[in-house]
């Protein structure tokens, strides 16, 4: 059993043992457990990840277990890097070079903003990707599940998250991409939102795209 804990978080001893028992039930070389189960007395789910090419369904003897299968082709993703950063694993986990593009980040924003506006203050879970990508591009750091949960808890209302994205996207655009690319990229995106201004989300995204180009120019 391997414990990945780069931030030296305090893990609950009894959970380490339970995690080990759960992982033993999974017939795969690479599997791991991360999230609140490892460090919080009260937890909602047990997040188990299995790296596998197989299409079979994995099950363990625990109703709270949520098993996600990660394909070997997805090991370069920010998602995998984040969930595997602090975890308890059956074996040493495979590592691949991270591949994340600015366009991936915008795709995340494009889906997260409508979701956030629909869920308002019940957003907790679905906002993870948005914060993960924003922090990666803002500070160059991949947050693990502990850090991500802590970062999300800092926001009191969903509107604070909207403001955070609004502030960071312009800085990130200026830092990460050339003006000529920003202009082409954001004006194309804005074109898709233009006819949908009756929706708050697309209106927000339209404004965000324009702000990003303006800042990239300045």
């Amino acid at each position: 059993m391997i414990i990945y804990n780069p931030q030296n978080e305090t893990l609950l001893k009894e959970r380490i043992k339970s995690a080990e028992e759960l992982l033993k039930q999974i017939p795969a070389k690479y599997c791991f457990i991360t999230g609140s189960f490892l460090y919080k007395k009260k937890y909602h789910d047990i997040d188990i990840f299995v790296i596998s090419r197989s299409k079979r369904e994995f099950v363990v003897n625990n109703k709270k277990a949520k098993i996600t299968v990660i394909d070997f082709n997805d090991l370069h993703s920010l998602f995998y890097r984040s969930v595997s950063k602090s975890c308890i694993a059956k074996n040493i986990l495979p590592a691949k070079q991270l591949k994340v593009t600015f366009s991936d980040y915008w795709n995340v924003i494009n889906e997260a903003i409508p979701t956030l506006m629909n869920e308002k203050d019940t957003y907790h879970k679905n906002v993870r990707f948005l914060i993960l990508y924003t922090e990666y591009f803002r500070a160059g750091e991949v947050l693990d599940t502990f850090q991500l949960a802590r970062k999300i808890e800092q926001f009191k209302y969903y509107k604070e998250i909207l403001d955070y994205v609004k502030t960071e996207i312009v800085k990130i655009t200026k830092k990460e991409i050339k003006f000529s690319y920003a202009k082409r990229f954001f004006y194309t995106q804005a074109g898709y939102y233009k006819d949908l201004q009756e929706y708050d989300a697309q209106s927000f995204l339209y404004g965000l795209a324009h702000d990003a180009v303006k800042t990239a120019h300045g």
Binding site: N110, I113, T115, M117, N118, F129, T188, L196, E198, Q202
Partner: protein, 121 residues
Amino acid sequence: MVSPEEFRKKAGAIVAQNYKVEFLGKNFDQIVNLLTDTKAEKIYNWLEEVIHKKIQPIVISSKKQYKDWKVNELLTFRYQFSIENVEYRILFVKVKNSIYIEFHLGDHKYYDKVRKDLSLT
């Protein structure tokens, strides 16, 4: 318990358009059978809100073909709920400035498949 036939009828009546919305999902009927009246009512209310443009859609800029349309011509509305710790999702698809075409209901496996077809992340 909600009858799948009644569910389709009620949901179809809320959408109220000449084009018949397709109700899709590998285990559509079984999942509807699991719905309580309260849960079904929540879905009908959500549909009403979609029709009245109170729910925000997802618009993907991909030019990929999805059946008779390009992905960037579609608006997708997403709704999530759970029954006994199992999560289910609805994807309700509309053609931009036009008709509603599909109502998908399924578990995470089905959602993953449709999500990829619609180029959602």
